[in-house]
């Protein structure tokens, strides 16, 4: 195909299509993913082309989707499950945590669980309750799962294919409010590996970490900071579990300061783990504690308040200031 300008949504759609072409065992399952193409149209056109046996509109039951995916995986299929919105993954929680995550270990490797759980996550779209959640820490705390979050069309296109080809279960987080953001995707390129973080902007004063929708926010903050003469290094974590922090340690050893940004509630969000690890690994280089910018420890608020709840450029800069002022 060569180089194309794609939105994140379209990149996912094409990535799914390519994965289905490459491997006849790949199946999509979920609510409204067939004729409707999913509420975000990520699976648009796929049922038409691959048939109802490979793009399955399921009954309205998330435990059912994940539980049958387990059986399908045992039978050699590679189910890609769409959870319609982040807040609706919880009925499937038992299957994910006690089954999907544990079956490889339970069977001492005899059974693989190449299941991808696609979740459009995060807020900022003016939605009603349960449509703006960031549940990644629940999964990252669960051994046996892997968790990735994409932030741009290139990673979306390749990441979904890599996740589907991967032998372990992956929670694949899609930044729903960025679905419509565009970039050039070279479909002939060699992609970066899935489980690697990436420095997306070099800088010297403070290391800022983000993933998914917050990468853009972090980059905006870096631009604004530049105008004030401050140089932020921005890392797109890309992989939430396992964490790939070696490039972060390297960066923090240089900058001496670190700020982590995510939408999830700050308490026991990814920032907690990253702060603990960065402090352990860079103790003597740190000139300030790792600071965290996240959602407040409240339920996601009604949408009229979401701009106050979500980390934005200003809150990132405020943390940068506090770090520099420490």
């Amino acid at each position: 195909m060569g180089i194309e300008t794609l939105t994140i949504g379209k990149a996912l759609n094409l990535g799914l299509r390519r994965a289905m072409e490459d491997d006849a065992k790949v199946m999509l399952m979920g609510e409204d993913i067939g004729k409707l193409g999913g509420v975000f149209r990520i699976t648009d056109g796929l049922q038409k082309d691959f048939g109802e046996d490979r793009v399955v509109d399921t009954p309205l039951a998330e435990a059912g989707i994940l539980g049958t995916a387990v059986g399908l995986a045992m039978r050699g299929y590679r189910p890609v499950c769409e959870i319609q919105f982040d807040g609706f993954v919880f009925p499937a929680y038992n299957q994910i945590v006690t089954q999907v995550a544990k079956i490889h270990a339970r069977s001492k490797g005899a059974l693989r669980m190449p299941i991808v759980i696609r979740i459009p996550f995060g807020g900022g779209i003016g939605a009603v309750e349960h449509h703006s959640e960031s549940p990644e820490a629940y999964f990252a705390h669960t051994p046996g799962l892997k968790v990735v979050a994409v932030s741009n069309p290139v990673d979306a296109y390749w990441g979904i294919q890599q996740a589907i080809a991967h032998p372990d279960p992956i929670v694949f987080l899609e930044p729903k409010r960025r679905y419509w953001e565009k970039a050039e995707v070279d479909t002939d390129a060699t992609p970066d590996p899935l489980f690697r973080s990436r420095v997306v902007r070099g800088g010297d004063d403070v290391t800022v970490l983000a993933y998914g929708p917050m990468v853009k926010t972090a980059l905006q903050a870096a631009e604004a900071a530049e105008e004030e003469g401050r140089s932020l290094e921005v890392v797109d974590l890309r992989t939430v579990s396992p964490l790939d922090l070696d490039p972060v340690y390297e960066s923090v050893r240089r900058t001496g300061r670190c700020v982590v940004v995510h939408e999830a509630a700050v308490t026991l969000g990814l920032g907690a783990e990253i702060a603990a690890r960065v402090t352990e690994n860079c103790f003597h280089s740190l000139e300030a504690p790792v600071l965290r910018v996240g959602g407040y420890d409240t339920p996601y608020p009604p949408s009229k308040l979401e701009e106050e709840y979500l980390p934005d450029l200003d809150r990132v800069l405020d943390a940068v200031d506090r770090s520099l002022g420490f």
């Binding site: 409204d32 509420v39 807040g87 009603v128 407040y296 420890d297 409240t298 608020p301 009604p302 949408s303």
Partner: protein
């Protein structure tokens, strides 16, 4: 195994019928035909005054008018989203009006008609869809819970509430609303299991509007939904959900049975979602326009209007007055929505707990301080 197979009736397209989603007569309880003819049913009768009949018409017309206004307000950017009840007015008004004052309803996100019947101010519902709050009426005071968006979860709440009613020795009943899609959720089935086990005074009122967003009922169930209940050990009935009289009669009977200690009932109100799933939805992707046309012939309001007009129970003046009242209501909803103040930002910290925690109080204080810093205009 053939004998076994026979035992169950599978929902197949009715031969000759143009849509698989049309009501199948043998099971369907009806008191008012689509043409507006009053018919009798061997088990369900309805003793109803002319005043009450006009009241029902007024309810139906006003909630439809509200719905139209809300859809318009959403299109104009005043609501984040709107879940239309178009086509389901009779199911909701029939059910809502069957309730006694002390009864309690547990709605989904679409029960604006029930909210209306329970006396909840439409502006409370608007504030939810506008994103100002999550509804904000007092559920217990109104006998009407807040909208529950996670599909099916409210069925367990309803059952638990009914277990509380039992323990209180109260003579009231609980009405749990759910959609056809919701019947596939584990929690909904657990609710029926608990309700049966404890003979709880709860009635499950399922609006089978033929779709869960784009997914047709055949994906959720291969046999009529009302038959599910027998498997759990309590009665299920299918009522014409576009017939407000039948819905009223059937729901009243079920609630009465619950109050008398006879345990749960499952009501399948056979109806049709005449609009999109929500304002974000595009039904042309998954259903034919002809299906909607057929259902328009079964419109729940038209049939009551025809009946009232033909029998002379209501005249032009009445219908005109309801229209006028509808316009007033719409105007009030519109201006109320436009005037709705955004909630104070600190409110998100204030209701997380009944007893605030020190760390969250500290977060709130930081939040206030942080925002105060902007007043200085530093950033």
């Amino acid at each position: 195994m053939t004998a076994l197979r026979q035992a169950t009736e599978v929902v197949d397209p009715v031969p000759g019928a143009s849509s698989p989603h049309l009501p199948q007569q043998p099971d369907l309880i009806q008191l008012l035909t689509p043409e507006g003819e009053r018919v009798e049913h061997p088990e369900y009768s309805l003793d109803i005054s002319d005043d009450e009949l006009r009241g029902l018409y007024r309810d139906l017309a006003l909630v439809r008018r509200w719905d139209v206004e809300a859809t318009a307000l959403q299109r104009q950017g005043e609501l984040g989203i709107w879940a239309s009840l178009l086509g389901q007015e009779a199911a909701q008004i029939g059910a809502g009006r069957a309730m006694a004052v002390d009864d309690m309803a547990f709605p989904t996100y679409r029960e604006h008609g029930v909210a209306w019947a329970r006396g909840v101010d439409p502006l409370h519902v608007m504030s939810l869809f506008r994103g100002s709050d999550n509804g904000g009426w007092n559920p217990v005071e109104r006998g009407f819970n807040l909208y529950t968006i996670v599909i099916g979860s409210q069925c367990l709440h309803a059952t638990g509430y009914a277990m509380g009613v039992q323990r209180d020795g109260a003579e009231s009943a609980v009405l749990a609303f759910l959609g056809d899609g919701a019947t596939s959720q584990g929690e909904v089935n657990e609710a029926m299991i608990f309700a049966a086990s404890f003979a709880a005074p709860v009635v499950f009122f399922c609006q089978n509007n033929q779709y869960a967003i784009s997914v047709p009922i055949e994906r959720q169930a291969r046999v009529p939904l009302f038959q599910r209940a027998a498997g759990f050990g309590f009665p299920g009935v299918r009522v014409d959900g576009n017939d407000v009289l039948a819905v009223l009669a059937v729901t009243r009977a079920a609630l009465a049975a619950a109050r008398e200690g006879q345990g749960p009932t499952f009501i399948e109100a056979f109806t049709y979602r005449m609009g999109a799933h929500t304002t974000s939805d595009d039904p042309t992707r998954y259903r034919l326009a002809s299906e909607l046309e057929e259902w328009k012939l079964r419109d729940p309001i038209a049939r009551l209007k025809a009946y009232l007009a033909r029998t002379g129970i209501a005249d032009h003046a009445f219908f005109d007055s309801v229209d006028a009242e509808g316009d007033e209501l719409a105007a009030r909803i519109r201006s109320g929505t436009l005037e709705m103040a955004d909630p104070p930002a600190t409110s998100m910290f204030d209701h997380v707990y009944a007893e605030q925690t020190p760390p969250l109080a500290a977060q709130r204080a930081e939040f206030v301080e942080y925002h105060a810093s902007f007043e200085g205009g530093d950033h």
